[in-house]
Amino acid sequence: MSAAPAIAATPVPREKGNAFPVTVVCLGILLAWYLAAIPMNWVITGPKIEAAGGGLSNILAFSWNDARPVIPAPHQIAQELWKSVFTFAPWMPKSLIYHGWITLSSTLLGFVLGSLLGVVLAIAIVHVTFLAKSLMPWIIASQTIPILAIAPMVIVVLGSIGFTGLVPKSLISMYLCFFPVTIGMVKGLTSPETTQLDLMRTYHASTSQVLWKLRFPSSVPFLFTSLKVAVAIALTGAIVGELPTGAIAGIGARLLQGSYYGQTVQIWAALFMGSFLAAALVWLVGVAERFTLKRMGVKP
């Protein structure tokens, strides 16, 4: 007996995508946001609503449209974003693109320098035992220290010897992002299995051949993972770098200004801009990762 019997088969559920659940959760958050805005803004809007005579439509209108709310409604943030991005010329101080670019430029410079430094340092650590033993413990220990807290000092010190603007901020970003890249690359460069390294020894391969033909390709996944972490932290570093000296340009500066002048909606808009930049940068690194891994023949 071998022919296919006519039996109803249990279908194996296909792998479901995440688009629908994510959308539902986002909508849920949006709904909760709108609802929470009513009680949260009451301290400001309460008197105004009473003065206008109360009633549901007044409650909703005032809670969701106040100029200086405790929490702005999502559409208010969207309006502010639209205004700051599209109605002002990108080089004007009122434009969020202007501020975004200021922060982005120091982020990118710091990210590139920090990543290069991290890779070079990792290669050195893997090949020189002395460096590995003396540096790695300090690198790991430094992860436990709130490095971001010294950002103000770096800015001020460099400012007093004449470095202002782009360079000190990118130095902070560079300092912050070389740690994850170093640690990730060390892990990656040491990831080849013993059997693979033994094979290279049977070929009498030189150290640099082993590095370029085996260690470096094996470390590519680790590199991209840490680059994603590094780019996000470089952006955070650039933003924090704008705080201490009361900078007047950049995302951090906008956050600070909004905080000083009580311009809540401005703070939220700047925050969304910064978040958008972070997401875009991580996404770009992800695109580069997929492209590189595909070129290397990795299973998608």
Partner: protein, 256 residues
């Protein structure tokens, strides 16, 4: 002690001391102004002289903001992970968002939290909660799924309930991931509390001290605060490493 273990300790110690000595020599030898880079000896003197201030700052930042925030943030992240485990739909919807949020400059919500919770320590604790929630959520979800296929089939063959399976199998198996998150969160908590203080705080706190002393170019005090922050961060992390070893003694990474 074997030669390898000796050099494990000796090399970094020598390196660290060497850096300190070099630092001291360069600053004193080249007459580098203290407003640029104070010498280690100056920092030490300032530290000893300012112990009362440092202590008050420590209480405000670490004891009132970092520790409570870290506990609340990690606990809520864990509970959210349990919820995601019970409701797979929620997991599929929330986890991608969690990964996204983890990449964002969360420090940016600090001014908003100051606006909602006031200038004092509650807003800093809130900042810490926000920063520690997502790493714990992501790691705990991964940890809850880490228990093997066979082990879960075994529990099924015993007719074990969800709760029994959770407590006896999945939680112990998740511990390496949970400790990973707790360690990451200890660093994030310190950063969150200090940076949040840059946005407004009563006249006490480590972040407050750093930003004001930076403004007055009192860099030796800034470095003194950094030393305290470094010691606190390392001690916190070290304590977690110790606890981790006790709880996850069975993990292959501990067997050489």
């Amino acid at each position: 002690m074997t030669k390898s273990r000796l050099t494990d300790i000796l090399y970094p110690a020598v390196f660290g001391i060497g850096v300190l000595i070099l630092w001291q020599l360069i600053v004193k030898g080249f007459g580098v102004p203290a407003v640029l880079l104070p010498a280690p000896s100056d920092i030490w003197n300032k530290l000893i002289a300012s112990l009362p201030i440092l202590w008050v700052d420590f209480i405000q930042t670490v004891l009132r903001a970092v520790i409570p925030g870290w506990i609340i943030g990690s606990l809520s992240g864990f509970l959210a992970a349990l919820l995601c485990d019970r409701i797979p739909f929620l997991q599929r919807g929330l986890l991608p968002l969690g990964n996204l949020v983890a990449a964002l400059p969360i420090v940016g919500v600090a001014p908003i939290l100051v606006m909602w919770f006031g200038f004092d320590w509650p807003s800093k604790a809130a900042m810490v909660v926000v920063m520690t929630f997502f790493p714990m959520l992501i790691n705990a979800v991964a940890g809850l799924q880490a228990s093997g296929h066979l082990e879960r089939d075994l529990m099924r063959s015993y007719g074990a309930s969800w709760w029994q399976t959770l407590v006896k199998l999945r939680l112990p198996a998740a511990m390496p991931f949970i400790f990973n998150a707790l360690k990451i969160n200890s660093t994030l908590a310190m950063i969150g509390a200090i940076v949040a203080e840059f946005f407004g705080t009563p006249i006490v706190g480590m972040g407050f001290r750093i930003s004001t002393e930076v403004g007055r170019l009192g860099l030796d005090m800034v470095w003194a605060e950094i030393v305290v922050a470094a010691i606190t961060g390392s001690a916190f992390y070290g304590l977690l490493v110790f606890l981790e070893r006790r709880v996850t003694f069975w993990h292959p990474s501990y067997r050489r």
